[in-house]
């Protein structure tokens, strides 16, 4: 059975070993599902969030995985709209990673809200001024688009394609994929942006609030750009990682080069704009509310090093590295640069979600700390477990890397 599901010409580890590999991830998933059950049955008191730290690990996770999952829309955009044909080698993997990231985020979001059964009210009584409404609309729609993009991969499974109807459907879907890539790009543009907008619009929080361009704060645009920049890096990183774990060559080196160059340029543009944005914030936006920016960084552990690490160490440095031909020539350095770029965005989302809430606001407030409960961590890890499971299964039974067979035959 298993043999007949594996794509022709692909070498996969024996089934028992594969199942053994799945066990720890399945265990993580099971533990996480138990934590989720507790949150549903007993309530969100199972978390360490509170009225002051109303957003915690989960929102941070949502923002982060959605940024990293941006590779799906952006690769699709480059491949289908800008016709960067070499990215065909990673588009399947990018779609799967995107689907994992987005479905994981939506799943966690459903646990995070107190009354998930009322989530549909957002569609029924939408407040179109709310960034969160924008996020909800775009996120649900984009997840559906991702599912549609995922479908052809599944339909092309060796066994499923023996059913003629399914393969014909796959063929037809493939033909209209450019439409979905377009829609996906549009939706991603708005939900990545409005995720950034979530914090940029917080008029009550001078640390998070940013100037508006039209109806959107600058974080709207910075989030889009940073997600687009880091998406290809994350694809590079995951592809390299999957290659290492499976001990296979999955894509030709040129693909890495293309991804790195795109990521590098976008990251550079992002860093420049982020720098300008920070300067405007430091010199105008924040002082207008009566707060000098230096006071935001007077609450350890959040010193000015955070800003430096985010913009320079994990922004400018990886951008330059990704653009340097000599760095790109060495896989180790290339992967390091991609990892640094990802870490930069991860840190940015951390600052946005956590530092924003930790800083004191009322005159007698003190700096707040928060550490997630095991239930929160377990649910977090469940997303990881779910991701690895789904990716592993997809990698085994679907043809994620079209070049793999050819590269394997070449020896």
């Amino acid at each position: 059975m298993d043999d007949t599901l594996i794509g022709r010409g692909l070498k996969r580890t024996p089934l028992p070993r594969f199942l053994l590999w799945l066990v720890p991830w399945a265990a993580l998933l099971a533990l996480g599902l138990y934590a989720v059950y507790l949150c549903f049955a007993v309530g969100l008191n199972q978390t360490n969030m509170d009225n002051r730290f109303a957003f915690g690990l989960w929102i941070y996770l949502d923002l982060t995985v959605i940024a990293l999952g941006a590779g799906a829309f952006f690769t699709g955009f480059l491949l289908y709209i800008l016709k960067k044909k070499e990215l065909k080698a990673v588009i399947n993997s990018a779609v799967v990673i995107g689907f994992i990231c987005y479905s994981g985020a939506v799943g966690i979001l459903m646990v995070d809200v107190g009354q998930p059964l009322r989530a549909w009210f957002t569609f029924w009584h939408p407040n179109v001024h709310s960034m969160l409404a924008e996020v909800t609309f775009c996120l649900t729609l984009y997840l559906s688009v991702l599912a549609i993009e995922y479908a052809p991969l599944v339909l092309k499974n060796r066994r499923l394609k023996e059913v003629p109807g399914l393969l014909v459907l796959e063929n037809q879907l493939h033909k209209v994929m450019v439409v979905f890539a377009g829609i996906g790009t549009l939706l991603s543009f708005f939900h990545q942006g409005s995720l950034g907008g979530l914090y940029g619009v917080l008029r009550g929080n001078p640390f998070a609030f940013r100037e508006h361009i039209g109806i959107w704060p600058t974080t709207f645009f910075l989030f889009i750009l940073s997600a687009a920049a880091v998406g290809p890096s994350f694809i590079l990183l995951t592809t390299w990682l999957v290659g290492k774990v499976s001990k296979k060559r999955l894509v030709s080196p040129e693909v890495f080069q293309t991804l790195a160059k795109i990521s590098g340029w976008l990251l550079l543009v992002y860093v420049v704009l982020k720098g300008i944005d920070s300067l405007v914030w430091i010199n105008s936006t924040s002082p207008k509310t009566g707060v000098q920016v230096s006071s935001f960084y007077a609450h350890p552990p959040f010193g000015t090093w955070v800003l430096f690490a985010e913009v320079v160490l994990l922004g400018l440095v990886p951008a330059v590295m990704l653009l340097s031909r000599r760095v790109r020539a060495r896989t180790g350095l290339l992967v390091l640069a991609a990892a640094m770029a990802c870490a930069g965005v991860v840190l940015n989302r951390y600052i946005m979600t956590i530092q924003t809430l930790a800083l004191p606001s009322l005159p007698f407030d003190s700096f707040l700390s928060y550490s997630p409960s095991w239930q929160e961590i377990a649910a977090f890890l469940a997303v990881l477990g779910y991701g690895v499971l789904l990716y592993s299964i997809s990698f085994r039974w679907l043809n994620l890397f079209p070049e793999e067979r050819e590269l394997a035959t070449k020896g």
Binding site: L117, R118, W120, F121, W124, H125
Partner: protein, 631 residues
């Protein structure tokens, strides 16, 4: 032409119908209705028990006896508001009073007599409870070594009269806890007066400096919020009219945090500090010479004593800088009227020597009859020819000899420590409590005969002993007690009869009659927010009707009596010297958690967990509300 219907046609027709309905407004409307329907609260809102009405009464939970404006639906009160202008509280109220309507259904409420033996609670019927009482009463009459003692938290009620009759009939003791004035060191001052019995109250509105030796004047003591309000109002008047509070205390409690000045002092050295202030006042001739001349005795002896307490020595003893002592004394002298209070109602009075020093300080500042006005008592019915025991203090209880201890429902454990009572008990003593709660002293009883819970009975409430005027309210009941509840008065009379003791007939309406006869004071009608002179009240019935509407009687000002205060009593000097020169004591254990809980006989409402658990305002939350109450 022949019409043929294939299965495909049927499917098409069905599908078309579904699609048609889907595109019609019907599903839209259904979804919208679903959205609105799911927006109903999952737990139904409670139904009102009747039309909205406001009723007035007074809070019996602590000695402050605040006026309550109850928001009721039918017979059910659902919330309270303060009553501004109320003579006893003038808008004062605290969290305990605001949740008084929860207490009747408190999880620790007992509705039936319970016998406790070997740690087990066993429900008994009323007859058995009465029998136990009567047997114990009879035994007390026979055995001189098994005394009957009754502790009454609110003397002066008609139930108190029954207690006193019972104590007299059995040769037992009628014990009352120290009045609130004792905890403010006012009683100690009044006892130095040679012109007859005297009660002093506090009139913060007449004071410009309030020195508090550990008394939570801004929080728990006296009428809630009164001093804080007067002080705040004074801050918007000219500087010379401002009230300032100086808190002298070893730990920085809530009142110290709120005081204008907080002077941390080594615990137990208050006497030295007070004598230090006295030293500066006398040394620099800042004391109220006219008052000392006209109203005190023993100035020379006291001056000789206080002369030893130069600021330098005081600094050494108390840890308070000499300059602080001198400056405070000058400040007090310059901003008279000033008054000095000491002791914490929830922690009990200070030592007699410290109180003597505080009393002397008040005399040097000329506080009596000004900021510490003479306070009358509400008229009472006379004892007549009934045999009634006189009130005694806790100190009168001999050790190990009480065979039958009766605890009234109004006795707060914070005012009458159980350890003191336990010391007085004989072996196998019967401890009966009329508390409606399995909490506080009610939990210590071997026989619990629960009486009405707060708001379930009409109760005579005298105002706080520290108020400048005497007040009296017959706080009407808002709730009806459980149907088969045994009223303490009835059950006691039954038991006494069974034990062959004869009690005088209950003096119903005697107190109102006494009030009418005295023709003193005015009555505040909270519904109308106006006063009626007692002289204008036509009949006892009219008076009863006023009280049933929540009215409160307030006395007129009392004339200054003739007589002098002793600065030093005979033989007091050496003890005072010894105390003041003694070493600091250990820090007292902090008892307070929720305000006034220690002086309330009832456990706090569960709702007050909001304050203890969900805010950082009150410490020691666990002690405040028993976790068992959650069960």
């Amino acid at each position: 032409m022949k019409l043929e219907l294939s299965r495909r046609d049927l499917f098409l027709a069905g599908g078309g119908a579904v699609a048609g309905i889907a595109l019609s407004p019907v599903p839209w409307k259904l979804l919208d209705d679903l959205s609105i329907w799911t927006q109903q609260p999952p737990t139904p809102t409670p139904r009102p028990a009747g039309p909205l009405a406001f009723r007035f009464t007074s809070c019996a939970l602590c000695p402050a006896s605040c006026g309550l404006k109850a928001r009721c639906f039918g017979a059910q009160p659902v919330g309270f508001a303060a009553v501004p202008g109320h003579p006893a509280s003038d808008g004062g109220l605290c969290p305990l009073g605001l949740t008084a309507h929860h207490l009747a259904k408190h999880p620790l409420r007992a509705n039936h007599p319970e016998r406790v033996s070997g740690g087990k609670r066993e429900r008994i019927d009323r007859a058995a409870a009465t029998a136990a009482l009567s047997a114990a009463l009879a035994a007390c009459g026979r055995d001189p070594k098994r005394t009957f003692a009754v502790v009454d938290g609110r003397p002066g009620r008609s139930l108190s009269r029954t207690y006193r009759a019972l104590a007299a009939a059995t040769g037992g003791l009628y014990v009352t806890p120290p009045a609130a004035g004792a905890a403010l060191s006012l009683e100690a001052l009044a006892k130095r007066f040679d012109g007859g019995a005297l009660a002093l109250g506090v009139d913060f509105s007449k004071a410009r400096r309030v020195v508090s030796f550990g008394t939570p004047v801004l929080t728990d003591a006296g009428t809630p919020g009164l001093l804080a309000r007067l002080r705040a109002e004074s801050r918007r008047r000219p500087a010379a009219e401002r009230i300032e509070v100086i808190q002298v205390e070893a730990t920085r409690g809530r009142s110290a945090a709120l005081a204008d000045r907080y002077i941390p002092i080594a615990p137990g050295t208050e006497a030295a500090f007070a004598l230090g202030l006295a030293h500066v006042l006398l040394d620099e001739k800042l004391a109220d010479a006219a008052f000392l001349e006209a109203r005190t005795t023993g100035l020379a002896d006291f001056a000789a004593l206080s002369a030893r307490f130069a600021p330098a020595l005081v600094e050494q003893k108390t840890g308070v800088g000499a300059g602080v002592v001198t400056a405070l004394a000058r400040d007090l002298a310059a901003n008279r009227p000033a008054l000095v209070l000491g002791g914490d109602p929830t922690a009990g009075p200070l030592s007699g020597e410290t109180e003597a020093a505080i009393a002397a300080l008040n005399l040097l500042l000329g506080a009596p009859f000004g900021a510490l006005p003479v306070r009358s008592e509400a008229p009472r019915e006379t004892d007549g020819d009934a045999k009634l025991a006189a009130a005694t203090s806790l100190d009168a209880l001999p050790d190990g000899s009480v065979g039958f201890l009766l605890l009234d429902a109004t006795v707060a454990e914070g005012m009458v420590p159980w350890a003191r009572l336990e010391r007085a008990l004989a072996a196998d003593a019967l401890v009966v409590s009329f508390s409606p709660f399995r909490a506080g002293l009610g939990e210590k009883a071997t026989l619990l005969i629960p009486g009405p819970a707060p708001l379930e009975e009409s109760i005579e409430l005298e105002g706080p002993a520290d108020a400048p005027f005497a007040t009296l309210a017959f706080a009407p009941a808002l709730l009806s007690p459980p149907k088969d509840l045994a009223l303490p008065e009835e059950i006691l009379r039954e038991a006494a009869e069974a034990a062959g003791l004869s009690l005088p007939a209950p003096a119903a309406g005697a107190r109102s009659a006494a009030l009418l006869a005295a023709r003193r004071g005015r009555l505040y009608d909270p519904a109308a927010a106006s006063f009626v002179a007692v002289g204008d009240v036509a009949s006892p019935d009219a008076l009863g009707e006023l009280f049933a509407r929540g009215a409160c009687w307030v006395d007129d000002a009392t004339p200054e009596p003739k007589g002098r205060f002793a600065l030093l009593k005979d033989g007091e000097a050496p003890r005072l010297l010894e105390t003041a020169l003694g070493a600091p004591t250990a820090l007292p254990a902090s008892l307070a958690s929720l305000p006034r809980v220690a002086v309330s006989a009832a456990p706090p409402s569960l709702l007050l967990t909001k304050l203890t658990r969900e805010t950082a305002l009150f410490s020691a939350p666990a002690a405040a509300i028993p976790t068992a109450a959650r069960a």
